[in-house]
Amino acid sequence: MSYIIKGHKHDWEIVIGLEIHAQVISNSKLFSGSATAFGSDPNTQVSLIDAAMPGMLPVINKHCIAQAVKTGLGLNAKINMYSVFERKNYFYADLPQGYQITQFLHPIVVEGLLTIDMEDGSTREIGIERLHMEQDAGKSIHDKDPRRTFIDLNRAGVCLMEIVSHPAMHSPEEAGAYVRKVRSIVRYLETCDGNMEEGSMRADVNVSVRPVGDTKLWTRTETKNVNSVRFMMQAIEFEAQRQVEVWEAGGEVKQQTRLFDPDSGETRSMRSKEEAHDYRYFPCPDLLPIELTQSYVDDIKATMPELPDAKKHRLMSDNGLSAYDADVLVAEREVADYFEIVAKGRDAKVAANWVISNLFGALKGAEKGILESPVSAENLGNLLDLLADDTISGRIAKDVFEIMFSTGQDPAAIVEEKGLKQITDTGAIEAAVDQAIAENPEQADEVRAGNGKAIGWFVGQVMQKTQGKANPQAVNKLLRDKLGG
């Protein structure tokens, strides 16, 4: 699937590279013992280290290192046994130190590979250049005062993982699939909560265009401030189109940082500060290198859960699910866990169908997530059991499901209380069939004359007489026997 922009002079293709900033899940910050929780009162989670008071020294949080290693393993990457923190120097109001402690020449993780799943069921592999650890900055608040910017340092010093892809994506859809996959993996690993709205996962998007067939990279721009997958895809589309127009008009795309405006769907140039990109990196003299051992890495590997790709393949090969169904079920760890409880010891295809069509439909209508589902996985499983052993018909099962969704009740109790058990007693069904034929002689003649469609109409009549409780197969058989349809 290729995404081509038709210009007047050329056909153009897009080249996209992504830098994802993922906030590490940890109790305390990367270099201080302050809390990391989102949404606390301003500046209450700031230590003298985070505020960069003179003489304060950083001490690294072990857990953050483990989280970065775990994420690296989840991205099929190489873990460097030796990595180094450096200072990236720049002045900004939300950066009290005047430098960000980050990794530059020797990152902790390099050379990863991610398989992305496209909507048409195909897959692509995207190379990851590196993952490094660094400090997050504080937060600037611009709308509280006309002349001043307010600063909250609660976020300053929280551990980030910057995950840098190769410039290897060529359509907004691929970039979207990539971000979704990274998000899915870090959520499975519980190394980042992936919450783009709260900013715990953010993407900077590098975009360039080039005439189809050209292999060199043309000048790129970097777009910041995209806090959802949808916005990111919009930003790429807009930016690529803009660049094509610039080149075709004989102009030149400038390497610059741009901001995405969600209201207009456009990107615009940030007021470029002169010399903004002279960061003068050098090794941070306050910190020693991180030195790991293979056995440390192996121990972390041993704690890894089954990841979405492996789960997807298992659901396809062991349970016979389609690639599409498997993708939908494994993308979110909570959904996958739910599905596995429903499917355990049952027909996985039926379970997948109920989760994807019925449950997701109902959840969407109620604007609820899987964790807020009124129907527990156990109860949905029980419903499938009632269906499988013919206690209820498929039609009744849908009604029972609706009641379960609004009341949270156990399906067996609903069936008992409302008297919804399927009628399997042939005598009772036969009586209803006979009655239906007697009441509708004209339609009966039609069936006898060979109109196969009319038999479906009779099935409906009988189901109505039995309040939907008759076994449809039994009804069908009896009608055919009696009318010879």
Partner: protein, 95 residues
């Protein structure tokens, strides 16, 4: 290596240090003397020698992931010249 006054002006700007124009040239001279002195180190052959990160061979000290600090916004904000508690306040930064 030698610094001209333009480079010194740029470094001063990056470091947010204000230097009077007439002091640029003397400062460049001083810095060049220091650099020249340090450059003597390049006479030492360091091929195959890993960069030294510490004089003693110790592992980096680390801590457990527990909350042991923060909750001291009064202290943190105490020296802010233009505080708007509970925030720091700075001249408008416009993107």
């Amino acid at each position: 290596m030698s610094l001209d006054t333009d480079t010194v002006r740029r470094i001063a700007n990056l470091a947010r240090i204000k230097i009077e124009e007439e002091k640029m040239a003397p400062l460049a001279d001083e810095l060049n003397q220091i650099i020249g002195w340090i450059e003597q180190l390049s006479e030492v052959d360091t091929d195959g020698v890993a960069p030294m990160t510490s004089v003693t061979k110790i592992d980096m000290p680390s801590r457990e992931d527990v909350i042991s600090d923060g909750g001291c916004e009064d202290k943190v904000l105490a020296n802010a010249p233009s505080g708007e508690p509970p925030y720091f306040a700075v001249p408008k930064v416009v993107e």
